[in-house]
Amino acid sequence: MATLTATPDRVGLPGLLRHRAVGKLALLAVAAAVLVPLADAHWASGSWPQALTVDLSKPLTGVSDWIIDNRDSHPLFLYFFGYISNAVVLSVRAVYLVLLAAGWAGVTAAAGLLAWRVAGVRLALGTAAALLACGLLGMWVPTMQTLALMVVAVLVSVVLGVLLGLAAGLSDRTFRALRPVLDTMQVLPAFAYLLPVVLVFGIGVPAAVLATVVYAAPPMARLTALGLRGADHEVLEAVESLGTTARQRLFTARLPLARRELLLGLNQTIMMALSMAVIASVIGAGGLGDRVYQALASVDVGAALAAGLPIVLLAVVLDRVTGAAGEGLRPGGRAGWAYAAAATVAVAVAARLAGGLDWPGSWTVQIAEPVNRAVDWMTAHLYSGVPYVGGTADWAGHFTTWILDPLRAGLQWLPWWSVLLVVAALAWLIGTWRTALTAVLAMAATGVLGVWKPSLDTLSQVLAAVAVTLVLGVATGIAAARSDRFERLLRPVLDVFQTMPQFVYLIPVVALFGVGRAPAAVAAVVYALPAVVRITTQGLRQVDPAALESARSLGASSVQQLRQVQLPLARPALLLAVNQGVVLVLAVVIIGGLVGGGALGYDVVFGLAQGDLATGLVAGAAIVCLGLMLDRVTQPTERRAQKGA
């Protein structure tokens, strides 16, 4: 968190704020002076005291066994979970059958025409091309399976999200209760959601869909609530004065006014569901994610990429189309929709008559081999013995011995109460006493769960990776903000890296950096960079041109402008970048358990793989706590006041 603590000094906070910061710290110091000796005398320093842990493995194992033994007989399962599970299976199956019945031509036509109606001709062509590319890569059937799963998951997420959002948007009390929960759910790593659903539903599509829903519904709920609450009061009063009922007001004024937020929510929900599609393959989602996962087992980066690219294409297309839909509907009205529907049916029937429902086997392009050759070449030439700079393996070794090891040793050496104190100080300086309390309690919870050491291990990886991400990301962001051409070049690269399933680059990362914590950190950096770059660029570009102009007229050099005007003014954006960076890095450091990252990520993988849900759930809970703590420690107070994402 070095960057964070350094920011206030460089920026030069107003006197009042600084006073408040000093006051907070003094108060904390007094509290510490009283409490620390007490705690120290009671439980001793060093690692988390044994007396303060609760061993959950026995009861959790008991619950897990009970569920397996009673799943086919207990009423709770027969009359409740069974139906949920059935409903998911049936609806996914129904969508899948419709997609298969439409055939590849029908699906492509339908998607293209839909995109044309909501987003215009260019995106329609792009959509059709993307779907055809999925077929060309030989991934038509898996793509349809993933699509079927996604359609159901997104629909359920949206319905659930809108309902929750309506409740929160119309009632202040619900809003206050839901807001922190939703905010928090958005920052938690997807991996942590897998275990509880597996516990109840077992491996398979129902579990995958439900995990996706839990992961993807919060943004919809959050943005619906914000949209409803953000509606212009004067308009509402005007509508009210017309003597409308509450229901009429909701449907004729409040919801239409919240349209932008609703569509933004839909967009985010789709994106999150897609990113979950791959991670859920660990619990049997099938489809594209499963292909990626299987390819990784045989260290086949090319095949993993062939299955990963359709996901990227789907994500980019859906992002652009829902984004464009937010700008406004095309003219043409109902007739346009009717034409589109008729054309779709015509194409589907034509394809059916021509006997071309399945993607023709000869129309595929094998990209696996050239990709693998490229990866082999890269690893052969970069791994070690590169003159002057050393190979990637050497870097990884140095990174581990010089940065990760001391950091982990340092964190684990610190007495437990001092870790809590640092967390409290950081969270309080940047937020309110409430955020500080949440952060401290979350951190303490990892100790209570009995995973203090692995949590600090994970934390050390997160801190190291975040530091690297911020240095690289902010530097790139500054470059992008200063050159339009560079930004244009960068944009597609960022798109791809942001949507590429993390699993795809885990293996090349191992080939380059070996097994251990270093490759996990590298994968995390790669994943988090795009967001950091993007936020930094945007923040710098939004700096008031007048301020820049006056600085220039005073004869400030461009470095001076950057340091003294742009960066300080972009401070909120930079803080948001830190926050996002931390959240994203944590998500991948956890997945790093698959490449030797150890710590909490490994425990979750172990729990899933061994069916030892006790270990996995405890680790999952600790990840949740860690995520909560990191978010609170890096979440600037401004974000609460801000509207939207």
Binding site: N86, A101, G202, A518, F606
Partner: protein, 318 residues
């Protein structure tokens, strides 16, 4: 027939959902992707290692091209696969390395899983060092000498100790207990997945660096990176009963096949075929090597093997 089963379940579920009563047993649900468009579908569990992929590739190829089935494959780890098998979300596991707890629970108590005979391949887990290292230090293959060479195996991750590399957390392993009980100056590092472990082994081998790894036979990697097993204290029946006190080598396990009990009864030709599926270690390695090293798709590899071994698989179809 699985198809009628799905239909009945569908009908029941619709009935149940519309009337709001009746029981929905979620342990009897097939995958939503099964039996689409009237095709007879078999769902096979693929474990993450390539040997298992080879079994599935060949079984899938024969089921599709000789028996006219549609085959779905799902990658599931070993223990969750047992659960999925008992629920009918997959129909068969073709290679199991021995899970006594699960056998007792699902085969003997709940009777939701049926044994389907041996695969014909015998598996063995052990500690291995590369053969080029054995040529330099012939006595390294005895566990008693491992401490002497611990400094050779040091890495950034293992700190001051030697590194013993383990693979996926889903695999059967006693290594942590072994290191402790044999009082070795080693640290177990989990690669986290087999893919990561193989990648790391190949990088080590390319540079002829020393390494000590948890590994198992049959495995195609032996053809690419020759390795020699380190002798651990010999295995005796029951010496691995208490996981915390293990101080002996791993056993030799004849690998087993299992079917979902309903599928076993009503799976028709497919179930009969899977029960007869039986091949040798060489066969499996041949296919696995084609998949993992020559980067053939599982289907191409299976076709190649099937074309050359008609006498072997003909008897499975009868």
């Amino acid at each position: 027939m699985p198809r009628t089963r799905t239909k009945i379940i569908t009908a029941l579920a619709v009935l149940g959902l519309t009337t709001g009563c009746g029981a929905a047993d979620m342990t009897k649900q097939a995958s939503p992707f099964a039996n689409a468009q009237g095709a007879r579908t078999v769902t096979l569990s693929v474990q993450s290692w390539v040997g298992a992929q080879a079994n599935v590739a060949v079984a899938q190829y024969l089921l599709q091209h000789k028996l006219g089935y549609r085959v779905d494959t799902v990658q599931v780890d070993e223990i969750p696969a047992w659960d999925a098998l008992s629920q009918g979300r997959v129909d068969a596991i073709l290679e199991d390395w021995g899970h006594p707890d699960q056998e007792k629970r699902y085969v003997e108590d709940k009777k939701t899983i049926a044994r389907a005979g041996g695969l014909g391949v015998t598996g063995h887990i052990g500690w291995y060092v590369p053969s080029y290292l054995v040529r330099q230090h012939p006595d390294i293959t005895d566990w008693k000498n491992l401490d002497k060479y611990a400094n050779l195996f040091r890495t950034a991750e293992s700190g001051g100790k030697g590194q013993l590399m383990d693979g996926s957390p889903s695999y059967v392993t006693n290594d942590k207990a072994l290191v402790e009980n044999l009082k070795l100056d080693y640290q177990v590092i989990f690669a986290g997945s087999e893919a990561a472990q193989i990648t790391q082994i190949r990088q080590f081998a390319k540079e002829h660096k020393p390494f000590l790894t948890y590994w198992y036979a049959p495995q195609w990697l032996f053809k690419k990176v020759p390795m020699t097993e380190v002798r651990l204290p010999p295995y005796k029946e029951g010496c691995d009963a208490d996981p915390a006190k293990v101080a002996c080598a791993y056993p030799h396990t004849p690998l087993q096949k299992y079917l979902n009990a309903d599928f076993d009864r009503s799976g028709g030709k497919a179930a009969r075929f899977l029960k007869k599926f039986h091949w040798t270690t060489e066969d499996q390695n041949q296919v696995a090597l084609m998949i993992a090293d020559q980067k053939l798709t599982p289907e191409q590899a299976a076709k190649k093997w099937v074309d050359g071994h008609a006498s072997t698989w003909k008897s499975w179809l009868s």
